[in-house]
């Protein structure tokens, strides 16, 4: 009887205390970590841009000319009255709340160093609200167009600067010969073969290209006269980029639009390249930047105009530029006291100095960019090669299977070895034994590649393993060789995962200091490296050196500016890689 009636009072209760406790502890831990990092970055940004001395008037001016128009743009794009209301409430309510709480803490608890309530409002309320709105706005067509255009402008500039930097070290004359003799004929053959359906032309492209490259290296020692750098960049980079742009537009639209999409950026690039010298900018780099920015922008603008939806969004870069200019004019006209940021143009274009106000990071930036480019190529090629070999070629059973497992365990262990040890290995192997020299860019690149190789291999293996076996069997059953299966099915499918792993590993490499110290890299050099074998410094090394300077300006302002530069370059690099990855994901 008792059991029959038991359910009348419900089914009893099951305790969830431990689960709930765990949930909130995890949430608390992750929030605490993020908040701590956020506070640090806020202080670093305040130091780097000297925001502590920014007057409320200066902040208000740019808030009105730059932030408000941007928010309005996003709200216009989102076109959602609920979001608009919510954002207005948060901005207004946040203003009052931050002002009251900040003043209360200052009055009753403790004075908060180098922060005013206005700055706190900007960082705590406006910055997250802007990020949220940018996210919401990017889902509208207008916002998507605006951010797409902005992304091409920023991305093109960044890639152009990176290419210009790489040519500081790599011999542009070899590149000129290699392009003229190898790359161009191979590309022409390939295009011809594709268009005319001539399989032999396509097959001949690679051998012809290789012969051209070998001939280029050989001729470099023989040929004495070359065109100027500007002509070389024009011929080998700007013209082909413009041609590709014109072809892309041609495939979609009219001949005139194609000529304009290729021709206008090319003309601008040529003009920029030849005139840059007059205003003290390096001509070749200017040419590359304009070409790499202009052509994708032209293609994008053509497509947006062609589709005819959200063309208003194309005004976003203008809106932002106008905001900056108007803000600067107002500040100038009304004599609003402006902060003097440590991170300015001269900081990223000048050499280090004993004088804090003249100190620059340029040689270290160039050093880091070159090392990272080499590390990216080396670790990607070696990492993917090794992981393909281990996953696709080594058998899982028998003697070789045991060997594979042994290798596997050792690679996992290598990932856990402290970076100082890799520094020692680099010192012994590359600097001493192979004679690449102490503290040279090539020694550093090889050492850092070794350091991140295990991480790259393990993540690439994971990505390759996650490709369904069904696909491999399907390809095998079609009579594909193992190489054909790997190349056509496994690698394209695994590429996004492989790139994710490589991005994470590169993030580690760019911040490493210990192995660089071990191989004898200089903490400070005063000119950018001019070849792979010249001595260099990297950003973390230089920042570390400055942090030890006795003057407070170095320890706060200059170091903070260095950290921000390092982060911006890291984010730019990762952003590029993530874009590539997303493209690969969409392509498959």
């Amino acid at each position: 009887m008792a059991t029959d009636n038991a359910n009348a009072d419900g089914f009893g209760e099951v305790s969830r205390v431990r689960g709930i406790l765990f949930e909130y502890l995890s949430l608390g831990a992750s929030v605490a970590g993020l908040v701590a990092l956020g506070v640090l970055l806020v202080y670093v940004a305040i130091d780097a841009f000297d925001l502590a001395s920014a007057s409320p008037g200066w902040l208000l001016t740019y808030f009105l000319t730059l932030v408000i128009p941007f928010l309005a743009f996003c709200l216009y794009s989102a076109d959602d009255s609920a979001v608009t209301r919510r954002v207005l409430v948060v901005l207004a309510g946040g203003l009052v709340a931050v002002a009251v709480i900040f003043t209360a803490i200052e009055a009753f608890v403790v004075t908060i160093p180098r922060l005013s309530w206005q700055l706190t409002y900007l960082f705590v309320v406006v910055a997250p609200a802007t990020a949220y709105l940018a996210y919401v706005g990017s889902h509208g067509r207008v916002g998507a167009v605006g951010f797409g255009l902005l992304g091409r402008l920023v991305g093109g500039t960044a890639i152009g600067l990176a290419v210009g930097t790489l040519f500081l070290v790599f011999d542009e004359l070899v590149w000129f010969l290699a392009y003229t003799l190898g790359v161009l004929p191979a590309a022409a053959l390939y295009a011809y073969g594709r268009r005319r359906d001539a399989g032999r032309a396509v097959t001949a492209a690679i051998p012809v290209g290789l012969v051209g490259l070998v001939a280029a290296v050989f001729l470099r020692g023989v040929v004495r006269t070359y065109p100027s750098d500007l002509i070389i960049y024009l011929w080998t980079l700007a013209v082909p980029i413009a041609a590709v742009g014109a072809l892309v537009v041609d495939a979609r639209g009219s001949r005139t639009a194609a000529v304009a999409a290729g021709g206008v950026p090319l003309a601008l690039a040529i003009a920029g390249g030849f005139l840059a010298g007059n205003v003290g900018l390096p001509g070749p780099t200017t040419l590359i930047v304009i070409a790499l920015t202009g052509v994708p922008t032209a293609i994008y603008v053509h497509r947006v105009v062609d589709v005819g939806d959200g063309t208003v969004g194309l005004g976003l870069p203008l809106l932002l530029a106008a905001g900056v200019i108007v803000g600067a004019l107002v500040v100038e006209a009304w004599g609003v006291p402006a902060p003097d940021p440590w991170l300015d143009v001269s900081y990223v274009t000048e050499a280090p100095s004993r004088n804090a106000t003249e100190a620059g990071l340029y040689p270290a930036i160039v050093g880091s960019v070159i090392i990272i480019a080499l590390v990216a190529v080396l670790s990607f090629v070696l990492g993917v090669g090794t992981s393909v070999f281990l996953e696709e070629y080594m058998p899982e059973t028998g003697v070789l299977g045991s060997l594979t497992r042994l290798l596997q365990i050792n690679i996992a262990n290598l990932a856990a070895i402290p970076s100082v040890v890799y520094g020692l290995l680099g010192l012994g192997l590359f600097a001493n034994l192979l004679g690449f020299g102490y503290g040279t860019a090539v020694t550093a690149s090889l050492t850092l590649s070794l350091l991140i190789l295990p991480i790259t291999i393990i993540s690439a293996q994971e990505a390759i393993r996650s490709v369904p076996d069904d696909l491999r069997r399907g390809s095998d059953a079609m009579g594909a060789t193992r190489w054909q299966t790997t190349k056509n099915v496994v690698l394209p499918e695994a590429l996004p995962g492989i790139l994710t792993g490589t991005i994470l590993a590169l993030g580690r490499a760019i911040g490493e200091t210990a192995p660089l110290i071990m191989i004898g890299a200089a903490t400070t050099v005063f000119s950018a490296p001019s070849s792979l074998f010249s001595r260099f410094s990297a950003m973390p090394m230089q920042i570390y050196a400055w942090a030890g300077f006795p003057q407070a300006e170095f320890r706060y302002g200059v170091v903070a500016a260095g950290v921000i530069t390092l982060l911006i370059i890291l984010i730019g690099m990762n952003g590029t890689a993530i874009l590539l990855r997303n493209r690969a994901e969409r392509g498959s």
Binding site: D470, S475, N488
Partner: protein, 280 residues
Amino acid sequence: MSNTSSDTTEDESLITTEVETGSANWSPALGETAVAARDLNVFYGDEQAIDDVSIEIPEKRVTALIGPSGCGKSTFLRCINRMNDMIDVCRVEGDVEFGGKNVYDADVDPVALRRKIGMVFQKPNPFPKSIRDNVAYGLKIQGYDGDVDARVEESLKGAALWDEVKDQLDSSGLDLSGGQQQRLCIARAIAPDPEVILMDEPTSALDPVAASKIEDLIDDLAEEYTVIIVTHNMQQAARISDRTAVFLTGGQLVEYDDTAKIFEDPEEQRVEDYITGKFG
């Protein structure tokens, strides 16, 4: 189940006679033999998956392999194009003849062999590429230098998929429904113009409507190709095949004959029990 396994040793002589009776009964209309196995034994490690199977499969016909799970029919199918080579522990003894040549001879390149034999799997497995690239895959890896687009169209028509996808050849093969994906896999298999098409339970992951489309398609395919199909579905075997081979536990081929004979008047009691659903 335990009864049948204890019977196996006594029946061994019967099996071989059964096959020979079967082949002796072939009418000339059946044509040439496309694939033949002689005294085939397959082991996974110590476990025997195929037990002394001999069979002759006629060309341009549909031959169904039926039997309960684990009876070795899929293993037999994978012996024909040597897909078993991929399994490290798999060991094959005996001959499998295709085009008059033992495919397990030392001078046979399994990759070259597979280019002559198409295969369709249980789960549709189109590549994460466009429909066009999926169908052209075999042509691409074999370095075909004719008109690829024409062959793609022809193969998609052959797989009864052309009308449904002709406007979206550049969209991903994964965007298709399950049944369409399976027909895409069939188009992929026939594009390089193989002689034999192996199908390993091609409809078991599909709904009945999609399955019946595939069945109609298999009928048409048999005009040009030798089709060997593994199926769990007895009605399907009865509907689409000309010849049926019944495998029972232990990897033995118990009976092999014209489909009508197998389903109406099987020689073996065990086959009748299996077909009428008494076990398996």
